[in-house]
Amino acid sequence: MEDKYLKDKLSQIQPIYEPIDLEESIMRTIENHANYQQQILKYKRLGRISLMVSICIFGLYGLSLLMSAKQITSSNISYQIALILLAFALIITQLEGSRKLKKIKL
């Protein structure tokens, strides 16, 4: 079955195709992938921190709401609005972070 003649002949003329050099581009791609992995880890860490902070802020907000439920003054209303805005800002930051993370993963 094996055609020795053909095998010998083909081994004489190796390589058939012009040699290619992909070493640099492959190593660069691998390096980029490693950088992306590091960025993903960094975003995950940031995500965890901001999640903790937002939990704390929501906790504080809940407590202050309970405490100020009896006496509604303009100062504690503005304080509560500020807290709500801060909580929203944090949520938006987290969503942006996760969007960037998705882009990197793609």
Binding site: L6, I16, I26, H33
Partner: protein, 189 residues
Amino acid sequence: MENLYIQRVLNGDHQAFSFLVRQHQDMGFGVAMSIVKDHDMAKDVVQDSFVKVYHALASFNQAAKFSSWFYTIVYRTALEQLKKTNRQWELEKELTTITTETSVDNKALEDLDLAHLRSLIKTTLKQLPPKEALAIQLFYLNEQSIKEIEEITKWSTSHIKTLLHRGRKHFYQLIDADKAISNFNQLDI
């Protein structure tokens, strides 16, 4: 030797991977070319395959042959690439250029000089149906055994043998045709 470099990569020495790239890129390119039949696309396939190899290196069984594992990845990546570009993996495409059966003359290559032979083989491999070209490439050029080709492509032994037989036949026919054309051109009419 290869396993030493693989171990180094696994231990975090990314640069050791360039040895594997240098060692296998040309053979991988040949495998990709026989499937996609396009120079740039074949280069992309080899590049993607190496990136996949790098990320999957931890799962490679070091008792196995690295080249066979690598060619498996190249083969699958090439098929994926064809799918992406909506090109068909021409399973059983027959050569339309051959209309008559010519006898298999395995001494047909004898009179050709190496440079002409190289370009002729390159052209012939491009004209062969992808499956036959791949079988010829793996068996004769990349020196894989039938069993290894079976592992790479998941084709049966008998199918591989048929493809090799048909591939060889087509191969010699194309070379005969080329010889006939060059003889005709040399005629002083």
